[in-house]
């Protein structure tokens, strides 16, 4: 049996509990194993972002527990949690992921620098990562000089840099045209297949959903369906 990466029990999130409560996520159980490639779908406002944020330790559930690789992150102090994210979770956000004043190479290397990796090792790893996302010729470009798709690929490379247990991506293709979106998904799928990188990403895009091997659908903060499929 494969290793468990995420194990979430009975997770709920209520915004503004005292004034106008919004039950964004309600009693969700989620079990994700190493090497999975999962799309999180559902209508707008169904709680996808909220759930992803809680899985990544960016937001605290109002109830329930989240274990990542056996560590109960819902119990960690703020600083420990930041450190945990640095070493265990990769993030790709919808847009403007990168530090605008740094080049692609420096952006990817930034995480490694935070981990105090030596310069030599870092250079090597950063080059490899950018090669994997097909940007070996853009290593010295600043984010402003890259297309949206290229920026997202740098973000994926950065998320990969710390060899995380899982990469969480909230609508990584939302601001991309369909070609760039397909290209990004292909890269993610390739990384998943060849390097066993676990991905959990939210999306609205039917063509992106098709590439997933498991699709979890949220409706009104609850898991409506959770199905395996063969990607096309």
């Amino acid at each position: 049996m494969a290793k468990t990466i995420i194990d979430a029990h009975n997770v709920s999130k209520t915004f503004n509990p005292k004034t106008v409560p919004v039950h964004a996520v309600q009693n969700v159980h989620l079990h994700i194993e190493e090497g999975e490639f999962i799309a999180l779908v559902g209508p707008s406002g169904s709680g996808k972002s909220t759930l992803l944020n809680m899985m990544g330790g960016l937001d605290e559930p109002t109830a329930g527990t989240v274990f990542i690789d056996g560590v109960e992150i819902t119990k960690l102090s703020e600083n420990k949690l930041i450190d945990f994210r640095l070493h265990n979770i990769g993030f790709v956000f919808q847009s403007f992921n990168l530090i605008p004043v740094l080049t692609a190479k420096e952006n990817v290397g930034f995480v490694l620098q935070l981990q105090h990796m030596s310069k030599k090792e870092r250079e090597k790893r950063v080059l490899n990562l950018l090669k994997e996302v097909g940007l070996e010729d853009k290593i010295n470009s600043k984010p402003g000089e890259l297309s949206g798709g290229q920026q997202q690929r740098v973000a994926v490379a950065r998320a990969l840099a710390s060899k995380p247990k899982i990469i969480l991506a909230d609508e990584p293709t939302a601001n991309l045209d369909s070609k760039a979106a397909a290209n990004l998904l292909d890269i993610m799928a390739k990384l998943n297949k060849e390097e066993k990188i676990t991905f959990l990403f939210s999306t609205h895009d039917q063509r992106v959903i098709k590439k997933a091997r498991r699709v979890i659908t949220l409706v009104d903060g609850k898991i409506d369906s959770d199905v395996e499929q063969s990607p096309t």
Partner: protein, 406 residues
């Protein structure tokens, strides 16, 4: 790495950084010029006043200051001069015998202050000879003539070459009496002095008072005026503390010291306002910086950057901007002050006359003490660090999700 990131970040909005740094630049420059100017004016004022009166430091027989009588005078002593001159900061020593007496001319009588002076030494430090408005200056310590304050002369209704009779108390209860020709009149800025003073050659005064070789004070002129207390201590140490007392002009003329203190308070307020204004500018820039970058800061925290590290970057950014302004400001400040030290401003016209009426040189000197430059830079630096605490505090409270969504 942090420094590099901070450096790159401040140039993201070149215009804003330049405007902010420029405001720091002007504040530092103005503060330096202002401080240098006011310090220079005070120094000059003090120099002028003390050279007529007390000197920066003054040596007396122990106990003289509390009871200023001729019996509390001390013997002039070559060895004492030698000892004092060993201190490299001492430039001139001016011996004086100060007494009070009644002066009569025709049917007028008035109490006067008799200053027994060495005319040559006096001339060097306070240009007394240039203040002569009628008649001539006395030439040496033995000359049988006196110089009067112009105000005193007019009260006594006497002219140059008239003879003045003095009657007073001499050393050890002897009586002092003498008749002297008035050789010249001086116009002095200090009204009190102008209306009461009689300058008498030292030897003559000692003779008249039966106080041969005795002095009531030695005024000490210095080449630097800061660290007065330290110099006083070291002089006191070098001479017999049981026989002599050393006092600073601040102790002898507390009113002038207080006046300067009070006057400087006003200047501190002006400089304070200057710094208050640039603080606002700097603060605004810092606020904009984190406001515009909230999303990015959120992402950095999300991917594992400690908040404290992030706050450090913002702190560095604030310090860098103000350092740029400070650095250029100091260089410009040094150049401006240097220029004015070499080419002091010579006052002209009415202001010149007012100054000279008060016996103060009509030249504005700038003070070029390093302290001014260092203190101004430190103030700006401390300000920028203090200001940067706010963005730092904001970062510590930042919630990554909210920040990313903004």
């Amino acid at each position: 790495m942090l420094l590099k990131l901070a450096w790159l970040n401040i140039w993201r909005n070149k215009r804003r950084t330049i405007i902010t740094a420029t405001s720091v630049f002007f504040a530092v420059l103005l503060a330096i010029i202002f401080r240098s100017l006011t310090d220079g004016i005070y120094d000059n004022m003090i120099h002028n006043v003390v050279s007529y009166s007390s000197g920066y430091l003054q040596i007396h027989q122990k106990g003289y200051w509390d009871e200023q009588s001729i019996d509390n005078t001390f013997e002039e002593d070559e060895q004492l001069y030698q000892e004092l001159l060993k201190n490299p900061n001492v430039t001139h020593l001016i011996p004086r015998l100060q007494t009070f007496a009644l002066a009569s001319y025709a049917d007028k009588t008035k109490g006067v202050l008799i200053l027994g002076i060495d005319p040559t030494k006096e001339k060097v430090v306070n240009n007394l000879h240039e203040k002569i408005i009628d008649g001539q200056y006395i030439e040496n310590v033995n000359e049988n003539a006196v110089v009067l304050g112009e105000g005193l002369a007019s009260q006594l209704k006497l002219k140059v070459n008239d003879k003045l009779v003095f009657l007073g108390q001499g050393y050890h209860a002897s009586s002092a009496a003498g008749k002297y020709k008035v050789k010249g009149l001086v116009k002095l800025g200090a009204i009190e002095l102008n209306n009461n003073v009689v300058y008498m050659p030292l030897k003559q005064s000692q003779f008249m008072h039966g106080a041969e070789n005795r002095l009531s004070s030695i005024s000490v002129m210095l080449d630097k005026t800061k660290n007065l207390e330290k110099l006083k201590q070291s002089l006191q140490k070098s001479i017999d503390p049981d026989t002599y007392e050393v006092m600073t002009w601040k102790e002898m003329m507390p009113e002038m010291d207080q006046f300067i203190e009070a006057d400087s308070t006003g200047h501190y307020i002006i400089i304070g306002i200057l710094y208050f204004i640039i603080s606002f500018g700097l603060f605004g820039t810092l606020l904009m910086m984190i406001f515009e970058r909230k999303h990015e800061l959120g992402i950095l925290i999300a991917i594992g950057m400690k908040k404290r590290l992030l706050a450090t970057i913002l702190l560095l950014e604030s310090i860098l901007i103000s350092l740029i302004g400070c650095f250029v400001g100091i260089i410009a400040g040094i150049l401006v002050v240097k220029w004015f030290t070499i080419n002091p401003i010579h006052l002209t016209g009415e202001i010149k006359e007012v100054y000279e009426d008060y016996g103060i040189e009509s030249i504005i000197y700038f003070s070029s003490q390093e302290k001014i430059f260092i203190v101004q830079t430190l103030i700006v630096l401390v300000l920028s660090i203090l200001l940067a605490f706010y963005p730092g505090y904001k970062v510590m409270k930042l919630k990554p999700v909210e920040a990313i969504n903004s």
